[in-house]
């Protein structure tokens, strides 16, 4: 394999990995919110008035759609 081919191959690998990292970060944001929302609510309940109410922003978590048909 020539030097250029090797370099391209590495570039391909790192490019794919960078794309994966970006996609995972994009995917991670809401997933972390879903994971953190219940403990956040618990802390908000324990220290009333200190933390903002995120329920409207997280309404999709608490208001599920109608049952499946």
């Amino acid at each position: 394999m020539s030097f250029a081919e090797k370099a391209l191959s590495r570039l391909e690998f790192w490019g794919l990995l960078a794309a994966s990292a970006l996609l995972m970060a994009w995917y991670a944001y809401p997933q972390l919110l879903f994971a953190l929302y219940p403990p956040y609510e618990l802390v908000r309940m324990l220290i009333p008035g200190w933390l903002p109410d995120l329920a409207p922003a997280a309404s999709s978590i608490v208001n599920l759609p109608d049952p499946p048909r």
């Binding site: 090797k6 191959s9 590495r10 391909e12 690998f13 794919l16 990995l17 794309a19 994966s20 990292a21 996609l23 995972m24 994009w26 995917y27 991670a28 944001y29 809401p30 997933q31 879903f34 994971a35 999709s60 978590i61 599920l64 759609p65 109608d66 049952p67 499946p68 048909r69």
Partner: protein
């Protein structure tokens, strides 16, 4: 259940299982495929198919009881041992088993050390997770409680596969999954292990993805990593123990793909019988799928495209003609007994594939009852409570909804997949990037990707746009897993940090997938605690208050199990929990109109042989609940026994 009774029931289950496994091994020997991965997939497929066929035939004969199944199974084993050719074949099973162990060892030793350790941990965690969820929780997924398990409960209770009077008309839909699920209830006459009915599909899908990757030319470690990545898909993990039929369709789609890729990729089979075996198993798989859920028909154009594109468009016709000629020649070379046995099996597959639709056609004039069929505004079959539409407006709407669900940002992933795809960390992270790479860099990949895309588009032409329709796409993440497997083999080994980074990313994505599906994202720890306080045999779907109105709990507590219980729910109401976990509660549907006279309602109940009438908020139409309540308040004919439970002839 007393210990001796439990032992007898488990013994019956063991005999039935040995019979099915022996039969599967016999047939498996007649269907050589030449490749260990495909051979393993075919064994899983045969076991699933034969179990379904066994229960189906016995169920149609009205012999669906533990003792009958054990007697038939034992008789079958004796018969197999009595026929010399079969006995010789049976005696080869230990040798086949040794060969299987040898193949497994070869496979395992081909994996690098880190992957062996990771796989062992992943398998252990998965086994524990599946076992715990099956053991701990009763069924709770919506569609299961309305119609999938309602069929299972009725058949288990009466010992026969039959239709029955109920307002939930979806019990008419093709029900091969329900037949297989009955295998997990009939022996114990209990639903403690019914969630395990998805495991055969899960394993089949896993092996099928591995076989597909091998057909694409991937190495063993890369194929295994692709298969594990697919197996970690949250939507699949949640659906497997969710008592729904979608994992089965995904497994049958991927098995068909594995068989097609093998057939399409071969220049010439070393043994013509391999072509016959692949084509035979392909027919069995698709027929089994046709009797499981109708949307397999929408996925077929994608498979057909893969079959055309993989050998090359120009070569496709001669290639497939050659495969068919090989299969025909191999069929001619088989002995009379083998030919008859395979023909009988194919007949069984035709029966499983066509029975439900033919029955519906005979009874209602519409094979797809209760779905009417409408293509681009033209009604093809109009009979039905709901309509399956095929049009381009629906495609646009479904794609728009898919775009909204893409990324799973609308809510946590749950078994019903509300507004989410459920494809998880691996798909959105490594999978998507690998897909783009494979499309641009791997010649063998575009035909596969176009096939998946066509299956997706045809499906989207017809499925009802709803928050929950991603369950039909459980097979799709396999494309990304296969792309990833292809990419792994092109990974440069220097500098050494590259493979290490790739391993870490892979392990992290799979671990996150598993972490987000540990408890369905629905069941709080408190709820788990409450369920686990009850002994296994007393855990009831009606008592799991996730989506269950309290009326169901009252029915279990206050309606006598020895008397038939009348019920009235709408077309999407829960029926299954009323049967109780041990299927002891007889149910009768009592039709009630919103303006019926109270005396007339009571007369209806007497006519149907019940003193009790069950209704529930959210499951019975509100007007009917109001009417029944009003009758109870008048007090002449009905009295309220407890919330949602009404009784006549109180003093009897």
């Amino acid at each position: 259940m007393s210990a001796p009774e439990l032992a007898l029931r488990l013994g019956a289950w063991l005999i039935g299982t040995v019979f099915v496994l022996a039969l599967a091994a016999l047939i498996h020997r007649q269907l050589p495929l030449g490749r260990p991965a495909l051979s393993a997939a075919s064994l899983f497929l045969l076991v699933t198919f034969l179990t379904t066929l066994f229960v189906f035939l016995v169920g149609l004969l009205g012999l669906l009881r533990a003792d009958s199944l054990a007697v038939i199974g034992f008789g079958g084993l004796v018969l197999m041992a009595a026929i010399p050719a079969w006995r010789r074949s049976l005696l080869q099973i230990p040798r086949d088993f040794s060969a299987l162990v040898h193949d497994l060892r070869r496979f395992w030793s081909s994996l690098p050390r880190w992957l062996q350790a990771f796989s062992a941990a992943a398998i252990l965690v998965s086994v524990l997770r599946f076992a715990f969820l099956i053991w701990a929780l009763p069924p709770f997924v919506w569609d299961s409680l309305t119609y999938h398990l309602t069929n299972v409960a009725h058949w288990t209770q009466v010992g026969k596969i039959e239709l029955f009077d109920t307002p939930v008309l979806r019990i008419y839909t093709p029900a091969n999954y329900e037949v297989l699920a009955t295998w997990f209830t009939v022996f114990l006459h209990h639903d403690a292990f019914v969630e395990a009915a998805g495991l055969p599909a899960y394993l089949l899908a896993l092996v099928a993805v591995y076989a597909c990757a091998r057909s694409l030319g991937c190495s063993r470690p890369a194929s295994w990593m692709g298969a594990m990545a697919y197996a970690s898909t949250p939507a699949l993990l949640l659906a497997t123990t969710g008592t729904k039929n979608d994992p089965h369709i995904a497994a049958y789609y991927l098995t068909s793909l594995a068989l097609l890729l093998d057939l399409a990729g071969k220049r010439r089979a070393a043994d013509p019988r391999q072509s016959l075996s692949s084509l035979f198993l392909l027919a069995v798989t698709l027929l089994l799928a046709a009797g499981t859920k109708a949307y397999i028909a929408h996925l077929l154009p994608g498979l057909a495209l893969i079959a055309l594109l993989t050998p090359g468009m120009r070569r496709a016709l001669p290639h497939w003609r050659e495969r068919l000629a090989e299969a025909a020649a191999a069929w001619g070379s088989l002995g009379a007994w083998t030919r008859r046995s395979l023909a009988l099996l194919l007949l069984g597959a035709v029966l499983l594939g066509g029975y439900w639709n033919v029955r519906n056609w005979v009874l209602t004039g519409n094979p797809f009852y209760p779905y009417g069929v409408n293509i681009e505004g033209t009604p093809i079959f109009s009979e039905g409570e709901r309509t399956a539409r095929l049009n381009f407006a629906r495609l646009a709407e479904n794609l728009e909804r898919l775009a909204h669900k893409f990324g799973d940002a609308a809510g946590p992933i749950e078994p019903d997949l509300p507004e989410t795809t459920g494809w998880g960390w691996f798909f959105y992270g490594l999978g998507l990037a690998s897909l783009v790479w494979a499309l641009l860099s791997r010649r063998s990949f575009p035909p596969l990707a176009f096939g998946f895309l066509l299956s997706l588009l045809v499906l989207m032409l017809s499925i009802r746009p709803s928050p929950f329709n991603m369950r039909y796409l459980l097979w799709l993440p396999a494309a990304a897993s296969l792309a990833y497997a292809c990419w792994l083999d092109d990974l440069p080994s220097r500098p050494r940090v590259l493979p290490i980074v790739a391993r870490v990313a892979f392990s992290a994505a799979l671990a996150l997938n598993l972490a987000m599906t540990l408890n369905y994202n629905r069941v709080s720890l408190d709820r788990f605690g409450l369920v686990l306080e009850r002994p296994l045999w007393e855990r009831q779907a009606a008592l799991l208050k996730l989506n269950m109105p309290s009326e169901y709990e009252h029915a279990i507590l206050f309606a006598p199990a020895g008397e038939p219980l009348g019920y009235n729910v709408g077309s999407n109401g829960f029926i299954y929990p009323l049967f109780r976990a041990d299927y002891q509660q007889r149910l009768v549907y009592v039709p009630v109109g919103a303006f019926d006279d109270c005396g007339y309602i009571a007369a209806r109940m007497r006519e149907r042989g019940t003193r009790y009438l069950f209704v529930a908020e959210g499951h019975t139409p509100g007007q009917i609940i109001s009417r029944v309540r009003a009758c109870a308040q008048e007090g002449d004919s009905l009295a309220e026994e407890s919330r949602g439970l009404y009784v006549i002839d109180v003093g009897r």
